[in-house]
């Protein structure tokens, strides 16, 4: 028989309010005002780039899917688009500008949180401002902030989750654990690698507990395990839910991972054998070593809180781990992650001399990042557009093509949005297009002349583009070339009016 003494429950240790708890001291509208203020520069730059005709692939993809769902009034026409959250956020106002503005908002919110944390370091106002500017005003950061909504959204979720997670592991604040878990779960719907961060956060729990307490709690193992479960459960549940939905509708639970449009898997890395992947590690190491701000954070921790060093090391390893697993993790995001990890992990109450030192390091890191991202084609293109103030020719061609196609009758243009998503997004409507999600698509593909008036193909089709694969070489029977714009060719049925003016 169990003893009454041992079974007597412990008195509940309700979390006590602590001034050190993060984000809980401000009300939602106070946060909102600050988020809006910090978002203004990003939004201005995003609109400027949009005015110059620049549209990133990620934004075009999300916008095209949202336009399609809005036009067909059925969510399932988008298939199992992953990640679904950016798409759902764009859906109420599907327009190429929407993801840019939402991304700016997420960036503004992230910048505000970084500022919020810098305030706790005790550095002078000037140094804080310079530090924030140094890390924000870099091509990789600004591109991420204005042209990569899914990545920026995920990053923002991770930063918010980090703050609540800190409250949870540092002060055992249950509500914060609840919010952190939910946000990590939500972040899975914004990007797959959020799951890996959630697992990393869970793994860090025992390290945090060890760093926070000199002596372990009486039930330390159970406490750690339950806290790890609370941290990781929502993200794991989100993974299970999305896989279940995929299985229900397609019979393939992990279909979304392999979808080229989902950008979960990095095709260049995924198929590489494991032993070969290990050879990437030195490259990742060099990448970390070229982040002076991150290295400074390591040094500070080594000096003031050596127990937290393993925590920082694990977090800094996640970007490498994601890529080592073969998942997609773009370079701007890698650099942004390192910068955020460095800034958010800075211990409180730093000496005043530390401010200028950090600013110098941040500027150096900015230069390194700028050099690295120049290798990424889309960032370079964006940078050229923004700095020169001149549109790219291909953007103008897409815009012109889209504006002419917009005038076509409903479902009269046979196209495959695996390639044509940029044109659909530019057209700001999916109405004229007959796309693979439409029931009549298969029939039209076999017999275009009886089903559509136009066929749109590209000379550089994406994988799985059925229309271009079949008709890129020449127009189908009964069609003639209506015109070309860049890599795009429009075929017109012989009896249909010209949309491109025969040029």
């Amino acid at each position: 028989m169990a003893s009454a003494a041992t079974s007597r429950p412990a008195r509940a240790l309700a979390s006590r309010p602590s001034p050190d708890l993060r984000l809980l001291g401000l009300r939602w509208h106070q946060h909102l005002v600050r988020v809006l203020l910090f978002s203004v520069p990003f939004a201005a730059l995003a609109l400027y780039a949009a005015q110059l005709g620049f549209l990133s692939n990620a934004h075009a993809h999300v916008t095209a899917k949202a336009l399609l769902a809005a036009d067909r009034l059925r969510l399932e026409v988008i298939g199992f688009l992953y990640p679904p959250l950016p798409f759902l956020l764009v859906l109420p106002f599907p327009h190429p500008w929407t993801p840019a503005l939402l991304s700016s908002l997420a960036a503004g919110a992230t910048a505000w949180l970084v500022w919020y944390d810098l305030e706790r370091t005790g550095l002078g106002l000037l140094w804080r401002m310079m530090l924030l500017a140094a890390v924000v005003v870099t091509p990789s950061s600004v591109f991420l902030a204005t042209q990569a909504f899914p990545d920026m959204l995920t990053l923002h979720f991770l930063v918010v989750a980090w703050h609540y997670y800190w409250n949870f592991v540092r002060y055992q604040h249950t509500f914060s654990g609840f919010v952190a878990g939910l946000i990590l779960g939500l972040a899975f719907y914004a990007n797959f690698y959020a799951l890996l961060y959630a697992l990393a956060f869970a793994v860090l729990v025992p390290l945090f507990r060890r760093a926070a307490h000199e002596r372990p709690e009486p039930r330390e193992f159970a406490a750690s395990l339950s806290q790890m479960l609370v941290t990781a459960f929502p993200a794991l549940w989100a993974l299970a839910s999305w896989s279940y939905i995929n299985w229900v509708f397609t019979g393939r639970p992990f279909m979304y991972l392999a979808d080229p449009a989902a950008a979960v898997i990095d095709p260049d890395r995924w198929s590489v054998p494991l032993d070969e992947r290990l050879s990437w590690l030195p490259q990742f190491g060099v990448e970390v070593l070229s982040q002076p701000l991150l290295l400074a954070a390591f040094l500070v921790h080594a000096r003031v809180a050596p127990r937290r060093l393993p925590v920082l090391a694990v977090l800094a390893f996640v970007p490498a781990l994601v890529r080592l697993c073969g998942f997609s993790y773009p370079l701007p995001l890698v650099l942004g992650s390192y910068t955020l990890i460095a800034l958010l992990s800075l211990p409180q109450r730093q000496p005043r001399w530390f401010g200028p030192f950090l600013v110098v390091l941040a500027v150096t890191q900015g230069f390194v990042a700028a050099t690295l991202v120049r290798q990424v084609g889309e960032v370079r293109a964006w940078e050229n557009v923004v700095t020169s103030g001149a549109s790219r020719a291909e953007d103008q061609q897409e815009i012109e093509l889209a504006s002419r196609l917009r005038a076509a009758p409903d479902r009269s243009i046979l196209a495959d949005d695996r390639s044509a998503y940029r044109i659909v997004a530019r057209a700001v409507t999916a109405r004229p297009f007959l796309l693979p999600t439409d029931a009549a698509f298969a029939v039209a593909l076999d017999d275009p002349v009886s089903a559509v008036r136009y066929v749109l193909v590209t000379a550089v089709p994406m994988e799985g583009d059925l229309v271009s694969a079949r008709f890129a070489a020449g127009p189908p029977a009964g069609f003639v070339v209506d015109g070309q714009r860049g890599v795009w060719t429009l075929y017109r049925r012989s009896d249909a009016p010209s949309l491109l003016g025969g040029a």
Binding site: A14, S15, P17, F175, S226, Q227, W237
Partner: protein, 637 residues
């Protein structure tokens, strides 16, 4: 017998009256000077009457004290247990009034009315007696308040039974569950059943789709509502409305009289624990009145209670036998005899945290005048006994720590828990006490309070209870709760317009979603999960028609997000209570909800067949009960 002393009775001796009670008791050897000194010191601290203090400290027996008081006041003492009572005379008075004034008319003799009193006789007493009997000469006698209570129970047995059982029904039939359905509810119910049957026969597919949409839509709203409430509750978890400093700052002389009702039925084995647990309460014993409510036919418990030799602050109140035989009826009897300014209910096996009564007092003082009740949190001391107790504890932690706190913060109606609800007695009487025909009388009372414009709050104090350890027993208890929820919804929606007008639209929606949504969700669970399971196994397309796109999205949301969130909240609740070992068990919540669903079908069946039947829950089954009890001897409540 005082009758033999009547001739000897004389006018009050003013000289004797000057002698002080303590000195008189010491003089008679009933009290030592040291005891008197301690009692006086106690009196200085609490400001209470010396007599009550001496009784509470166990220095003198009640009868001894009142005999001395009789001498001091100069009136004869009467033992009402032995004295033949004039029933006809007594029944001309209102029993509640007699209890309140602590007096009882004993005999009427040629214009002289002998009235026993436990208070110093005053002209007010004379006026009261004359207001009922006309111009008579009032002759005071002295007796104990126990004797008065006992005499009232004996003489007014039928009145007490009647008021406890039917008081609310006669006073406000619309608020009583004695009628399961009122006229229009019957019409709507039958019209719905017939309409659904006809629609299914004539247009099976659209009707099935509409039904599916309705069920999934309601569940969707229910899940969102729970999430909102729990989030609000969780957000404020770190805010302590009553701090330990406030409790420490309370002056004992400012504390009011507190009544504790303990309804017991066939719980002989836990009476000893009850007395021990109540002893732990940090409240001046002299200001504590414990009424042990024992059913008339439960001689075993009565004998056990007497054998436990409880302190003098514990009073046995015998609940007259009669239908319905429910806990709320017993509580109504207790309310009739309650003398406290505040009142609470504990089950026999409850272990309230010692400062709970003080926290309740502070909550009432800090609260607005419309605060009629505060609910303490309930949790289980035998959480780790088996899988069922683990699941039950997770559920209770979620309910009391998050949902009720959230409801409180959102100022929505709070369904009271089974015990540890603390009332202002005057307001409770105004509300009509508990509905003995409602098998979750506590939830009903919370909602009734809200419907009358009062507020129920929560306090951050826990009462530890015994979780059900056996599945059959659990289903019995749960089916009663769900039946009670159904009764409560039916009662309070009888006059929907009036409800919205008095409680407000927000409160009404909150009440309907919480109290109505719970049985609905559990009734829907088995059919919906069966469909899902069948589909997974067979991959049939037979159900496709039931789930057009929007319904499908909502249904998937409920299945995936809704269940995930509810499981997660269970985890958090376990974590918040620092019961780490329970956290992983929250993953098994879906299995636990199947038990809820089974119980809800039983509840629905019983609502039709036996609406007022009180499903007995056996207590005292826990292995974690202290060994002084008789383990394995089941009791019921």
């Amino acid at each position: 017998m005082f009758a033999r002393q009547l001739s000897a009775a004389r006018e009050p001796d003013r000289v004797r009256q000057r002698l002080r009670l303590g000195e008189a008791l010491v003089e008679r050897g009933l009290l030592t000077p040291e005891q008197l000194e301690r009692a006086l010191e106690y009196q200085q601290r609490t400001g209470d009457r010396l007599g009550r203090i001496l009784i509470a400290l166990g220095y003198v027996r009640r009868q001894q004290l009142y005999r001395v008081l009789a001498e001091l006041w100069g009136y004869p003492y009467v033992d009402l247990l032995r004295e033949p009572l004039d029933v006809q005379l007594a029944r001309r008075f209102d029993p509640e009034e007699l209890v309140r004034r602590r007096c009882f008319p004993v005999r009427w003799d040629r214009g002289d009315v002998w009235v026993a009193t436990a208070e110093p006789p005053t002209s007010e007493l004379e006026a009261f007696v004359r207001s009922v009997l006309g111009p008579v000469r009032v002759r005071p006698l002295v007796t104990t308040e126990w004797d008065i209570d006992h005499a009232v129970q004996r003489v007014f047995r039928d009145v007490v039974l009647d008021r406890a059982s039917l008081g609310l029904y006669f006073r406000s039939p619309d608020e009583s569950a004695r009628r399961v359905l009122v006229g229009w509810q019957k019409v709507v119910l039958w019209a719905s059943i017939v309409g659904l049957a006809v629609a299914l026969a004539l247009m099976p597919r659209p009707t099935a789709v509409a039904l599916s949409a309705f069920v999934n839509g309601v569940l969707f709203i229910y899940v969102l509502f729970h999430f909102l409430v729990a989030m609000t509750g969780a957000r404020h978890e770190h805010l302590q409305t009553i701090s330990d400093d406030e409790v420490r700052a309370l002056r004992e002389d400012e504390l009011p009289m507190y009544t504790v009702l303990v309804p017991v039925y066939r719980e002989a084995n836990v009476v000893g624990h009850l007395i021990e647990n109540l002893r732990q309460l940090d409240y001046p014993a002299s200001k504590l009145e414990v009424l042990l409510l024992i059913e008339e036919d439960d001689e075993e418990t009565l004998a056990a209670a007497k054998a436990a030799r409880p302190p003098e602050t514990v009073t046995f109140v015998v609940v007259p036998n009669g239908l319905p035989k429910t806990k709320p009826k017993a509580c109504n009897v207790g309310l009739l005899f309650a003398r406290g300014e505040y009142l609470t209910i504990y089950d026999a096996e409850d272990r309230p945290e010692p400062d709970q009564l003080k926290k309740a007092v502070i909550a009432f003082r800090k609260g607005s005048p419309d605060l009629v009740c505060v609910q303490a949190r309930l949790n289980y001391y035998n959480a780790t006994e088996n899988l069922l107790t683990r699941m039950f504890t997770i559920e209770y932690s979620y309910w009391f720590d998050y949902v009720l706190t959230g409801l409180d913060r959102l100022r929505l109606p709070i369904p009271l828990g089974g015990t540890s609800n603390h009332f202002r007695v005057d307001r409770l009487r105004e509300l009509g006490g508990w509905d003995p025909f409602n098998v979750t009388e506590d939830a009903d009372l919370g909602i009734r309070a809200a419907a009358r414009g009062y507020r129920v709050g929560v306090i951050d104090s826990t009462t530890w209870e015994e979780a059900n350890t056996r599945v059959g027993n659990w289903i019995r208890q749960r089916s009663r709760w769900i039946k009670g929820y159904l009764q409560t919804v039916l009662v309070h929606t009888r006059r929907p317009v009036r409800l919205v007008r008095t409680a407000g639209l927000r409160n009404t929606l909150g009440f309907v979603l919480l109290i109505g949504g719970t049985p609905f969700a559990f009734l829907a669970l088995i059919p919906l999960w069966s469909l899902t399971l069948l589909w997974i196994v067979t991959r049939t397309h037979a159900f496709d028609a039931l789930f057009p796109p929007v319904v499908l999205y909502v249904s998937l949301f409920n299945l995936l997000i809704g269940n995930g969130v509810m499981m997660y909240l269970g985890m958090l609740a376990g974590f918040k209570r620092r019961r780490y070992e329970l956290v992983p068990f929250a993953l098994l919540n879906p299995l636990y909800w199947i038990l809820h669903s089974i119980a809800s079908y039983k509840a629905l069946w019983q609502l039709v067949t036996k609406p007022f039947y009180w499903e007995k829950t056996h207590h005292g089954l826990s292995r974690y009960l202290p060994t002084s009890s008789s383990p394995g001897v089941a009791t019921e409540s």
